[in-house]
Amino acid sequence: MTALQPSLEPLTILIAEDSAADRMLLSSIVRRQGHQVLTATNGAEAVEAFRLQRPHLVLMDAMMPVMDGFEAARQIKDLAGETLVPIIFLTSLTESEALARCLEAGGDDFLAKPYNQVILAAKIKAMDRLRRLQATVLQQRDLISKHNDYLLNEQRVAKAVFDKVAHSGCLNAPNIRYLQSPYALFNGDLLLAAFTPAGDMHVLLGDFTGHGLPAAVGAMPLAEVFYGMTAKGYGLAETLREMNAKLKRILPVDMFCCATLLCLSFQRRSVEVWNGGMPDGYLHRIASGERTPLLARHLPLGVLSPQTFNDSTEVFPMAVGDRVFLLSDGVIDTCDANEQLFGVERLQRVFAANREPDALFEEIEQALRDFRGEARDDVSMVEISLLEAAQLSPPALVYSDSGQSCPLDWSVSFEFRADTLKRYNPLPYLLQLLLEVHGLRAQSGALYSVLAELYSNALEHGVLGLDSSLKRDAAGFARYYQQRNERLDELRDGYVRVHLQIAPHGEGGHLVIRVEDSGEGFDVARVMERPVDGGRLSGRGVSLIRQLSRNASWSDNGRRARVEFFWEALA
């Protein structure tokens, strides 16, 4: 048996005993057991010896001159602090009251006189076990607290770094309201928003699997792709493909990111949605009060290989004042005391009871508190409203080059054929090229919008032969985008040609954009008769082009479009 027990390490034991005979006797017993002995003849000496030499254990006579054992025990326990220094009272006392006093004074055990060697050895051993246990507990407590401090500090630093990344976007735009706990990132929640060069707004609400730093690390590359591609003018499909491929590449198999990605177009008055594994979002139409769910149609990001990833989006028309509401699963997965989920129906009851749209967040939070009895810290909500395009001012882009080598007299032609039209969006590239010309940078928004409209007209109405009058109402709107996806999938031939020509003009310059397609053309006269008006769901493209560029004209039955931009001398 002894082989299984850890051998008793020699301890330093203080013996406080006023009787010289007893002191000698005890000392020799304890020494024979292999321990080192310190002695004291009264309580005051015992306290002093403890202070100076910190013995591991104390054998203390209760009745001693100068200071008795009770007071000495109290003082030694005070000095020992959190460390357990067991005190065994040596006593000839037998009344239970006196024995109880020994323990009240801080004693851990007592030993009756006359001394029994075997019992003394056993008690020292037992007390040593307790002492070690306490020491281990304290050590582990300190270690945990140190680790916790490290962790909190790491989170603080990570949060500071991440806040810089996450808030370089436009979450503070006047049409965005959001609610996120300060450490939502460490619950895996991520909210990003940024303007495209055309003044559309991209918004991403994501939710990584897991919690803590592992959940937060994936957020960095995701944000990088989101901001980078949005700023360059890439659409949702390309951005999604890139985000999925990147996460698939870098995340472990069991980690992924549920996400809803939106493109809110203030000029087209529409919202394009992709939802992979997030709870339903809602498009709230203020005029009718109707809430259209934005359903999760896809697997989360980072699950499927790039080959099988599905980037198809849905497009819904919006009116000024309409809102899109997105939320994380922290809302509907909130549990009450009986493990019941808050659920979608309770959320919809909050919607139904809502009278003041601006109070919706507070009402949802209140409902969650009422349901669960306390607030949660992993709830993310965001609401984006559609404003008049003029009410928003996308931040001016910052360019780092000096302009000394700006090209001012050139032209270039592209022909994008069927296979390319299917999967490639040439607009970011064309825009980058044009923005090499410094004089055009001030108009980059208009330039991008016009290019985008010309290109999508050529592709959708020209090459794909889609009828824009389909977009008269909300149902037709959806059908239009469904047909667009189908026809694009089946596309075998056709082309869109883009010709750009830059020339100096006075002190400034002059850009001509011509876009030509292989489609059937359209009745130019009829479209041009319509007043320049943004009120309809269809045909907004042409009026936008006419408003934002100069001398817009169509020829060859609408198969060729031509617009111009001018700029003055740079200051």
Partner: protein
């Protein structure tokens, strides 16, 4: 045991049954249930009859099993899920990569 397994007589199919909350707490039990089987089963069934709840880390564990079982060619059935669990599988669109019966 909240994760129990049963191998078909010919050893080609493994059924893993989950009891209670299917969340990160079952991570090692779940992985151990299929990782070291020789020969490796050809098909898998995860029986969710007694699973009361499933969180995103459980979805991650299912992806690990899928990866282990051959990725896009994996044969994995998720069976007997209750309404709550089914809803979670539906929102995450896991029906697209798992056979949910």
């Amino acid at each position: 045991m909240s994760v129990t397994t049963e191998t078909s007589q010919d050893g080609t199919k493994l059924t893993i049954s989950i009891k209670g909350r299917f969340d990160f707490g079952k991570h090692s039990e779940f992985r151990e249930s299929y990782e070291n089987l020789k020969p490796k089963p050809e098909s898998f069934e995860v029986n969710l009859k007694d699973a009361t709840y499933l969180d995103s880390s459980a979805l991650g564990m299912l992806l690990l099993l899928r990866d282990h079982a051959g990725g896009e060619n994996a044969e994995i059935k998720l069976t007997n899920a209750n309404a709550d669990v089914r809803k979670i599988l539906a929102i995450s669109n896991f029906e697209q990569i798992f056979d949910v019966a």
